[in-house]
Symmetry: C3
């Protein structure tokens, strides 16, 4: 069953864009279960959408349809896509928003260029394919229409390159990939990588250097650090995260997305 | 069937006002499908609600119930209304929030003054008729209760006047009606009017003057203009829109709601 | 029946935290009706969550499950709780977020320490029990799993103390408890208390002193005060509220949460 449809956009919630998409979906399948992932993606920031969708989609059951419309190229030649991967579906523009799905290079991933106008809305605007293509396609998909009917298989989708951590001996160099609402600084360094380089249970033996600070060891929870003090932790998505206990690390430490993070053994 | 209920308010999402309305609706009809249109209407800005609802309601199927609570006169003598028009329903205060529906003067539009307290909540506060009148009325309506049972037909609803474009020979003078999240400047000039005045396919022959700028011709998509450059386009609601490719036109051009826009033939 | 699940958090809607919780819930019970109360609680501000949930939960029908995750102590020893009270259910951390329910000391309130991992998600992170504990517990609860199966009854939950108004003769001293989106200043003084101290229908005889201002009498609706003028009213939750007609009282009067409010007889 495919009744859950999630929405990720840079539309904000002040205008009626998101509601228009939902109206179209419910007009085709009034049993669809609609879930907002985020509509506060920075306008046109495709990599932010990749980050947020990557950390969210695993929490949804098989059959979920994720619609993502961060689409600065709307109306141009960029293709509309449907990606079937890992039992879930992804609908949106071919501009890299599904990079996290596509770079996994799973055998069972199928990528369709949406070409069958029968599944589009009536009238195709130049500025709002979320309403005119992606919402109706998602709705028809939720009614169990087959992917193959909707377009042609392709093998050359746009995949964006994302900064990856570099390991040199017993040093990992990564960066801040995202700042969340609490000001927590989330790196692109995973706990799996830390275990590979430093061994399992190495949390007490490592030092994390970021923005002139040096943080020794990993905390077991946010309150392990005293209030107002910075710490590092493995977060709920298995990533190394820098925080200030009871505070806002991004604001207090003046560190932002892209800052360099170095993990090494405590000397 | 009337299971979809949309909500448009100036309540924001930080307080629990919107949730209180949803709790009331689900307490009466737990099968209602609730959709947020916008809760970020500027406090008390009725014309902004008109604009947003007008651009959204056509995306919803017949039978949809739109609740709109931008209601600075709550608790005063202003009447609570139910409007049935074009197969959809509109519930809210009689202060002009449904101007876009009422000025269409459709034969089949029926306007009811909600007077039957049987469809209201228990207890009527002086400050929150969204919860006490409009939410319960919408919920009962979604259960197929007849409009006639809810109040009396009236013929003198409040209709607000909105600035309309003026055509003089081959010159259209309009204004910026709305700025969206991307900073796009949406005018009150429609593509239909442009075709009437300049002929179909006249996009290449017109000049749009706004805020000291002169934009020649219409773009086919946002990326037709080079990054950082302004352009004009017919948007997804059939209106003339000024944009900056990859940027925020409102911020960059320092143009806001109410600014004058003149369309004329390219000399 | 327990199909409605509400969510109150300090997660914001820019990240995917809220959506991850919803994905988990729908993965267990895809018939759950999800309602957002607020995700804009100030990070870590437990009393703000108490305030917002208190003013909202009564609008929901019996059987509703309220999940509240304002949880700065996540991953520490603080207990996860399930509270059954007044026919509704409350799921969240034992840090006082359910103070309004617990301080009512109702006979029929049952408090469970959630200990049965069978109702948790697979994998327990150190930073996101909203996804790993509270969402799955709420989902299983919505499937009518019995509370007793989920943990042990306890009798020592954390209850926060909140400032209460003090009455001395015919003078009530209270404070501003909350500022809403409109800038309305909501006090901790109820209409019930005003009636007890000054008699029923005493609205015209009292003076409200706040921030150097003195407001005589209660307004019947916001528009009873002339535009730009301050007034006092009993709001929709039965509390004394200070407003500026057509304006933002918090901004214009420069009064904030915690400011002293004194109600006395008009001399």
């Amino acid at each position: 069953l495919r009744k859950i449809v999630t929405l990720t956009t840079d539309f904000g919630m002040r205008d009626g864009f998101v509601a228009a998409m939902k109206g179209v979906i419910l007009g085709i399948n009034d049993s669809a279960r609609l879930v907002d992932v985020s509509h506060e993606i920075e306008p046109g920031n495709i990599l932010e959408a990749v980050y947020i969708l990557e950390e969210t989609c695993d929490s949804f059951p098989g059959g979920t349809i994720h619609v993502c419309v961060v689409d600065p190229g709307v109306g141009s030649g960029r293709r509309p896509l449907l990606v079937a991967s890992g039992g879930q579906y992804f609908v949106g523009p071919d501009n890299g928003v599904f990079t996290h799905v596509l770079e996994a290079e799973e055998n069972r991933t199928e990528i369709y260029h949406l070409t069958n106008g029968r599944y589009f809305g009536t009238g195709l605007s130049r500025t709002f394919h979320g309403r005119d293509i992606f919402a109706p396609v998602a709705a028809w998909l939720s009614l169990m229409e087959p992917c193959q009917a909707m377009g042609q298989l392709i093998h050359d989708p746009v995949i964006l390159s994302r900064p990856r951590p570099v390991t040199t001996g017993e040093v990992i160099e990564g960066e801040i990939a995202h700042t969340d609402r609490f000001g927590n600084l989330i790196t692109n360094i995973t706990s799996v990588l830390i275990s590979e380089v430093f061994g399992a249970d190495s949390g007490g033996n490592i030092t994390i250097a970021v923005g002139g600070l040096s943080i020794r060891g990993l905390s077991g929870c946010y309150q392990d650090a005293s209030v107002g003090t910075e710490g590092a932790i493995i977060n709920s998505f298995g990533r190394l995260e820098i925080f200030v206990s009871g505070g806002n690390a991004a604001a207090w430490l003046r560190i932002d997305r892209g800052s360099r993070v170095v993990v090494s053994l405590y000397a």
